[in-house]
């Protein structure tokens, strides 16, 4: 009995406290300027695209309707799952045939483990007559340069051996 009367008392006090919100007022003259600002913007600004309005309303609706939000989430998840599984099924054989994933391919040098060296030649596609002709007819090409020499590494050159002594001693004025 006491508990319920305490609750009622607390609720009444909360209502009294919320009355404070009614006394919060914007700066004086604010409501005289607001309509002018709205009309001015209507005259000067271009209307946005319809799509953005639709999205805005849709996402606001989700906030108020949890069932709808769950439904949409479920649909998105299910469609992502279906799309993913379809992609794997349809593209699976193609993925298996990607050259870079095949043994002995440039990005998969493990096939040359026996020799202990990377097969740099495998980085360059085998030339065919057609490709040779097409390349030779162009002045500029982005085709890789074919060479039997292994590529030089950053620290292989003589530049590394040129060590200059640096003195940190300050000169007297």
């Amino acid at each position: 009995m006491n508990h319920s009367s305490d609750n009622q008392d607390s609720e009444q006090k909360l209502k009294s406290l919320l009355a404070l919100k009614k006394h919060e007022q914007p700066p004086p003259g604010y409501f005289d300027q607001l309509p002018n600002a709205v009309i001015h913007r209507l005259r000067t600004e271009q209307p946005p695209r319809v799509n953005s309005i639709w999205f805005e309303n849709f996402f606001a609706k989700l906030a108020f309707e949890p069932k709808l939000a769950y439904g949409v989430g479920l649909m998105v998840g299910a469609s992502a799952l279906i799309t993913g599984s379809y992609f794997v099924q349809s593209k699976g054989p193609e993925l298996a045939n990607i050259p870079s994933l095949r043994p002995g391919s440039p990005l998969n040098p493990s096939a040359d483990e026996d020799s202990g060296q990377l097969n740099y030649m495998s980085l360059v596609p085998e030339p065919t007559l057609a490709s040779t002709l097409s390349h030779s007819s162009k002045l500029f090409t982005n085709a890789p340069v074919r060479s039997l020499a292994p590529p030089s590494f950053l620290f292989d050159g003589p530049a590394l051996q040129q060590v200059h002594a640096v003195s940190y001693r300050t000169q007297p004025y």
Partner: protein, 215 residues
């Protein structure tokens, strides 16, 4: 054809179920102003903005606890309403329709803002010090006795910002602005039972948060 559906014209007054009272004969009804505004009569729309700006602003202010945000959102609401006015069929009152736009805009804004609370509170008017409810609250021997009204205002706003958006909106519309449950249901697109349960839960949350000030 849009049916006649009018609202009261006194700005700033608590909106209740009496919203649908007819206008005095010398002031144009919402419907006639809407019809004119649909034909790009900006003067008519200006009148509609003046009619509802205080209530829309107040709701958005109580939802955000920030004057600048409420100002931006109020302007955006009326601009969007004008551009969408062609789609207004008169199924609900213009007031309810604008309110829905305002609420949707605010919910989206608050979702973007997430939990970054940045309060910019308006000053209390002169009448606050003489409000009998507040005088009794302040004068009693409780922890709030030592607080000024401004500090109490800050605590109250902080507590409101801890509520979820739908719960905060229900408290704002019912307990602060005095709208009826049915009217809130129309604005929030839910039934009266949902409004009541949200209100009950929101009040409980507020009582728990503000327990020190309600003893």
């Amino acid at each position: 054809m849009i049916t006649e559906n009018v609202s009261i014209t006194i700005p700033g007054q608590a909106a209740t179920s009496q919203l649908e009272k007819p206008h005095p004969t010398d002031t144009p009804s919402d419907l006639s102003l809407v019809n004119k505004a649909q034909n790009e009569d900006l003067a008519a729309y200006d009148e509609l903005v003046r009619r509802y700006q205080e209530r829309i602003y107040a709701t958005l202010y109580h939802m955000t606890s920030n004057h600048e945000d409420a100002n931006d959102l109020t302007q955006e609401t009326f601009i969007k309403a004008y551009r969408a006015l062609k789609s207004f069929k008169g199924d609900s009152s213009f007031y309810t329709w604008v309110y829905r736009i305002a609420v949707n805009k605010t919910i989206n804004f608050l979702k973007q803002r997430k939990n970054k609370l940045n309060m910019s509170l308006n000053d209390l008017d002169f009448n606050a010090e003489h409000d009998p409810d507040l005088v009794s609250l302040i004068s009693e021997k409780t922890p709030r006795r030592s607080l000024g009204l401004a500090e109490l205002q800050e605590k109250l706003n902080e507590a409101l910002q801890k509520l979820s958006e739908p719960h905060r909106l229900v408290v704002t519309l019912h307990d602060v602005q005095g709208l009826a449950h049915e009217e809130i249901g129309k604005i929030m697109n839910c039934n009266v039972g949902t409004v009541r349960s949200r209100l009950f839960y929101a009040r409980q949350q507020l009582q728990a948060t503000l327990s020190d000030y309600l003893k």
